[in-house]
């Protein structure tokens, strides 16, 4: 056993843990579903804690500084399925595990898991699908993991029941089933033309494809883009999101903050690798970027109108998630290294904070007689603390200093200065930020200042206990840390985006993997790797 830790190949096998740990505990939890909720919580909670530990260890060990390729069953790519771990995948795994921890704590604090026997099994299945989607290097395997995470998310979203939840769930499910069908059409067309489904191999075969096949390849790739845009909730395919996120329970909505990012991650991974300027034919290099920028701008505008028009706080937060998707799409569309690094900073910020904001909205809803609607209500208990938390979250989400939203937007805008589309980008981001400030100020005003005299009203639900406060406050600590450590963090993200842009390295690592024979040192250094710094904090 000791050898597992000291041998140079240990990260390679540990790489499977983020995927296998949740699926094992999901199966175990299904077997335990008649046992007490306490036992289920212990199993599920220790799984989440272990997952967090493994993911942090993988990231800190610097395992992702080179592309770490795990061939399933030792079948070499492109014949078998490979999992690829790099800095980006490591970051996504960390975000998922962190959100899972926050969401789990809030679930326990509010007894949300008491309302049905399978909450924790579904929760773990959701983590299984998410982690698999972040690690896989194969397009069809990505489809399978998408289906896993979607099926779990349908169950989680509907958990607890209720007519409004069911209706939103039906819409969510139907649009995603159509998305799955489109995904299969795109995958089939790519396979029919290029004869492979491994992402790295696809990128390589694309360079050798005959010109008359370009039309089919472009159509298939744009179809894939549509699928990922449904997942990411980009204009005009976002209409399912506000109802879904606003109607589901708070811890589930908090976990779903990573779901839109799965779509963006898939765009970055698949389209970024396939249409990289180093390897792809010139006809493809600018196939996706302009679409991303313009659709991002439209998403941002529509989302901000939604933020202004929302009838309750949870729906407003859902529209804020949508606005962040728009901003991220714009930044991804620029495709420069600086923009990518800024994107990742904003990405971490918005995922963590919008999850926390959903939990806070739920706390406010629980304390008021009429939920989180705008109509005046008797004062909430612990009004000052809740109001201050709302103020901090609103500052961060709207992008005002001193918190992370401001830093992220500054980074994105400064990356956009030399873009050809800088005028619409600047105008949209700045004006929508102003509108978001106005909308959030109005909501704070309605929720905390327009107060009825204490009358006979009874709060909607019991407030959460101390654990709930920990869950709501921890995203703020993350945000504060991200501001204090902004310099080392952004230099780490710079190296990450350089790694993402080094597509030839990715292709080389996947298609010429080191052998996995036990005991043999597994990583011959790639000549280009040897020249570049590999440490995390140089």
């Amino acid at each position: 056993m000791i050898g597992l830790f000291t041998s140079p190949i240990w990260p390679l096998h540990w790489l499977t843990l983020p995927v296998f740990l949740p699926v094992f505990s999901a199966v175990l939890l299904i077997l335990l579903h008649r046992r007490s909720i306490r036992l289920q919580r212990i199993v599920s909670g220790s799984s989440v804690a272990l997952l967090l530990a493994v993911v942090v260890a993988l990231l800190v060990s610097g395992a992702g500084n080179q592309h770490l390729v795990y061939p399933m069953g030792d079948w070499p790519a492109p014949f078998g399925i490979v999992w690829v771990y790099d800095r980006l995948a490591g970051l996504m795994l960390l975000l998922t595990a962190g959100l899972a921890a926050i969401s789990f704590i809030y679930t326990v604090a509010t007894d949300e898991d008491h309302r049905g026997p399978h909450f924790h099994a579904l929760f773990q299945a959701q983590l299984f699908g998410l982690n698999g989607a972040f690690l896989t290097g194969d397009v069809f395997n990505l489809f399978v993991f998408f289906e896993v995470l979607l099926l779990a998310s349908y169950g989680l979203m509907l958990h607890g029941g209720g007519a409004r939840r069911s209706r939103a769930g039906l819409h969510y499910m139907v649009i995603n089933l159509i998305g799955s069908t489109l995904f299969l059409f795109a995958v089939g067309a790519l396979y029919g033309v290029l004869g492979t489904l491994n992402i790295a191999d696809l990128a390589q075969k694309l360079g050798q494809a005959p010109v008359q096949d370009y039309g089919i390849i472009a159509a298939a790739s744009l179809l894939l883009f549509v699928v990922f845009a449904i997942k990411a909730a980009a204009f005009p395919l976002y209409l399912w999101l506000p109802a879904t996120y606003a109607e589901t329970s708070a811890p589930v909505a908090a976990l779903f903050a990573i779901m839109t990012k799965v779509g963006l991650y898939a765009m970055l991974r698949v389209h970024g690798t396939l249409f990289d300027a180093h390897t792809a034919p010139a006809a493809f290099v600018n196939l996706i970027g302009p679409w991303q920028i313009w659709l991002g701008i439209l998403t941002l505008v529509m989302a901000t109108l939604g933020v202004l028009a929302a009838q309750n706080l949870r729906r407003q937060v859902a529209y804020l998630i949508l606005a962040s998707v728009g901003t991220l799409m714009i930044a991804l569309g620029m495709r420069t290294e600086a923009a990518l690094s800024a994107t990742l900073y904003y990405w971490i910020h918005t995922t963590v904070l919008s999850a926390g904001f959903f939990l806070l909205a739920d706390m406010i809803r629980r304390g008021r007689t009429n939920g989180d609607d705008w109509a005046p209500a008797p004062p909430i208990t612990r009004m000052v603390l809740l109001g201050s938390l709302f103020f901090v979250y609103a500052l961060a989400m709207a992008g005002l200093p001193p918190l992370t939203g401001f830093v992220g937007k500054i980074l994105i805008l400064s990356a956009a200065v030399d873009q050809p589309l800088r005028t619409p980008i600047f105008a949209t981001i700045l004006i929508t930020s102003l509108l978001a400030v106005i909308a959030l100020a109005r909501s704070g005003n309605r929720l905390f200042y327009r107060v009825d005299q204490p009358t006979t009203g009874v709060p909607l639900a019991a407030g959460p206990n101390r654990l709930g406060w920990i869950a709501v406050m921890s995203p703020i600590f993350v945000a504060v840390l991200m501001v204090i450590a902004a310099n080392p963090l952004s230099s780490w993200l710079d190296q990450t985006s350089a790694q993402i842009n080094a597509t030839p390295d990715y292709i080389h690592a996947v298609l010429n993997p080191p052998t996995m024979n036990a005991g043999v040192l597994a990583f011959p250094a790639h000549p280009e790797h040897a020249a570049t710094p590999t440490g995390a904090h140089q």
Partner: protein
């Protein structure tokens, strides 16, 4: 054979799209099913249609591509599970909302002027 195959996929897809755009949940479920049939045939066709080709690699120079068959198998299993789930969900919304309109509005609601 290719033409017939392509026409079949096109028919299934067109019918599926038409049905998913209907306002009641049952036609929508049927439409999703037809779409998944269409995509399964499409995946199968991407291995190139051939008759009298060997199923096993190396037994003959002409052989059927096994990968699309594996993909179709996976896709069938997933589509089957999803269809089962969406039927249960449709029944649940029918029970909870009292009608089978996809938006849960009653048939005589003013905004409901869409296809019956």
């Amino acid at each position: 054979m290719s033409l017939l195959f392509a026409l079949l996929i096109g028919m299934l897809t067109a019918t599926g799209i038409f049905l998913t755009l209907r306002a009641q949940t049952f036609p929508v479920v049927l439409g999703l099913t037809l779409l998944s049939y269409a995509v399964n045939l499409f995946l199968f066709g991407m291995g190139r249609l051939a008759s009298n080709a060997a199923a096993v690699l190396g037994a003959q120079t002409r052989y059927a591509d096994p990968l699309p068959q594996a993909l179709v198998l996976t896709a069938i299993v997933i589509a089957f599970a999803m269809t089962a789930f969406v039927i249960v969900l449709a029944l649940k919304t029918r029970a909870e909302l009292g009608n089978d309109h996809v938006d849960g509005t009653a048939d005589d609601a003013p905004e409901d002027d869409s296809a019956r």
